[in-house]
Amino acid sequence: MFNYRILGLLKRELNEKLLSKTFIIMTLALPALMFLIIGVQTLLMSYEGDEDTKLELITESDLLTNKFKTELDELPFIKNNYYSFEYNTMSKESFKDYLENKKEDLLSEKIQGIFFFSDSSKESKIIEYYSKAPKNATITQKLNSYFNKVLVENYFINKNLSENDLDFARKRVDFTGYKISKDQDIEEEGYGGLILSYILTFLLYISLIMMGQMTMQSVMEEKTSRVVEVLLSSVNSKELMTSKIFGAAITGVIQMAVWLTPIVLVSFTTIFALPTELAVNITVGQIIYLLFNFFLGLLTFLGLFAMIGSIFENAQEAQSGMWPVLMLIMIPFFIALSMVKNPSNPIVEIASMFPFANIIVMPARMTLIDVPLWQFILSIVVAIATIIAIFPVAGKIFRIGILRTGKKPKWSEVVKWLKYKD
């Protein structure tokens, strides 16, 4: 199958792709970029922007006001003036006038908010919160449990309950996830699998699109520079297409291997000490499967991208031809992302063995649940069958398209090419 002509072409492809600056930069920079994005996101999430918050707390009884004061003044973020509270006691009626007076301060954000505990809130736990931005969850979430504690204590104070009973009442439920799998002991599962599934989905998606664009570009370049005619005087169009696709697929797999290295290091070594919550579990078998599956995926999609590249002469024209192929990558991408909520939903299960979708969905699925062996095998068989089905069609269109110049062909014309004799 691989004669000297294909090898010669392949060598050139690899030389051009693997040694290109774009490729090297992308391969090395992408993981760095990903970490950067995750870092920035974490930073943004942790930055709440609520320092120097001034609040007022008003109840209808001095007793309750004092209880809040004692409880809240002990909190670290109040002690260090991150939040500061003013306490007041007044009746519901006088609060109305008071609020009217404070309106200016609230609007100018001199104070961020006023909590009002009416007498009824001792029973109902309904607290009035007046603020320019009452939906700002940062403040209410932070204070929620402390307010609750004071109200609970206040409620039970005359009901003869021990401190332990109160603690129990205050406590929330907490889930600990245990992953059941066939061959491993039941073990506590953290978020590692979830994160890994995200990362794999993104990497597959980015790499497929990147290699696809690259292949399409290089086909179009050969077409417009007319090198293709010289090539075809030496090799046939099948050899040309095969070497193009294999060249890009090998490049893609190498790139993926580079990208997976950090994951392998995290999983198999202790270089990166991650908390058990984030521990990543991936086996050698899975890595090999990943790369093999990805290779099949590249062959499939690059075949399509090469076909598109052969039909059109420049990037603008190709845009319109590319979207069906992009859809075949993007829909599985979103299915894979949806898996985070429920990895065993039937759409995901079907998609993981469905032509085109299996390439992206199966790897993400495998990191989250134990996929039965037959499903892996079926997925691979489907992938290979897809390639076998696509190639004659793509090859035929490639053969006609690559030598065709002039105005942009219509899809109906492209379909006609399939009927051409060869």
Partner: protein, 309 residues
């Protein structure tokens, strides 16, 4: 003996017949010219000969067997629209095109150096193709066409875009290759080039082969009763003369056809009597261009009769 036989090739694109039942032979050891104007079907014919296009019908026979990959391995092809990888270096380009023909190693490198030297490009060995001038790119493309020592050299409009010096160099090399026993097929719309270089020609017009055979026999046939004349004066007195069949003005020369070969001397006499200053009078002589214009002007019926001299 024929190296290649083209039999009844037909190719249609979207209802337009680009090549229509083309039949001709390329003899061994010859320079063969496929001539015709732009868009006549030359490139499509060549592409079918090399299996780049599949013909709708017909076949190409290489020394007794149908062409396929075996022919591709033996051919060096310079397409009309030149194309090289712009970002590739000159040296890599030459070796690459040789490699996919199955030729690599020291010998190829040595030859590549020789050719680069001959074309005065040795110092550009490590330049990228895109940094070369158009003419130099053409030279590189030509070297890559012949570097792997093909038995067949197919050159589609080889002289377009070359300056006179390099045109001469190219012609020199073509003749050299012919002496080595190679078969050279060149397509051109320049009749005088074809006339000077080719042993055999096939003339194609509107996808049809309208003339095919050795240049000598073709000229012999068409030159009968024909006079190629260069002169100064006014020829209008000949217009109504009964011995004249046709007068065609080709700019540099004028072709005069008489109704019978025996009238040739009479014509010369007439010219002198009418004070025409005769600078060149070649009896039984005709240029390829004259033949082409004569044939391409005729309708289909007559064309069928004159084909295959």
């Amino acid at each position: 003996m024929n190296a290649l036989e083209v039999r009844n090739l037909t190719k249609t694109f979207d209802g337009i017949t680009a090549v229509d039942n083309a039949t001709f032979e390329v003899p061994e050891g010859s320079i063969f010219g496929l001539i015709g104007r732009n868009g006549a079907g030359k490139t499509t014919t060549i592409r079918m000969m090399m299996n780049i296009y599949m013909p709708d019908s017909g076949e190409v026979i290489l020394r007794g067997t149908k062409v396929g990959q075996n022919f591709k391995n033996k051919v060096g092809y310079l397409p009309e629209e030149r194309g090289l990888y712009k970002k590739m270096k000159v040296w890599d380009t030459l070796l690459f095109f040789s490699e996919i023909k199955g030729n690599a190693g020291k010998n190829v490198q040595k030859k590549a150096n020789e050719y680069l030297k001959r074309f005065d490009l040795l110092d550009r060995k490590n330049s990228k193709i895109e940094d070369l001038s158009k003419g130099n790119q053409q030279k590189i493309q030509f070297i890559s066409t012949i570097l792997h020592e093909p038995e067949f050299i197919i050159l589609d409009e080889p002289f377009s875009g070359l300056d006179p010096i390099n045109t001469n160099l190219l012609r020199e090399i073509i003749v050299e290759e012919k002496k080595k026993g190679k078969v050279i097929i060149l397509s051109t719309h320049l009749m005088d080039f074809a006339e000077r270089m080719c042993d055999h020609i096939a003339m194609i017009d509107h996808g049809k082969i309208i003339l095919n055979g050795s240049l000598n026999s073709i000229k012999q046939k068409y030159a009968q009763k024909n006079i190629s004349l260069t002169y100064k004066g006014d020829l209008s007195f000949l217009n109504s003369n009964p011995i004249i069949e046709k007068i065609s003005d080709y700019g540099n020369s004028t072709g005069i056809k008489v109704k019978d070969a025996s009238y040739i001397q009479q014509l010369l006499k007439l010219l002198i009597e009418n004070k025409i200053e005769v600078k060149n009078f070649s009896a039984n002589e005709i240029s390829l261009q004259e033949i082409f214009i004569e044939l391409a002007g005729k309708d289909e019926h007559e064309l069928m009769e004159v084909a295959n001299v």
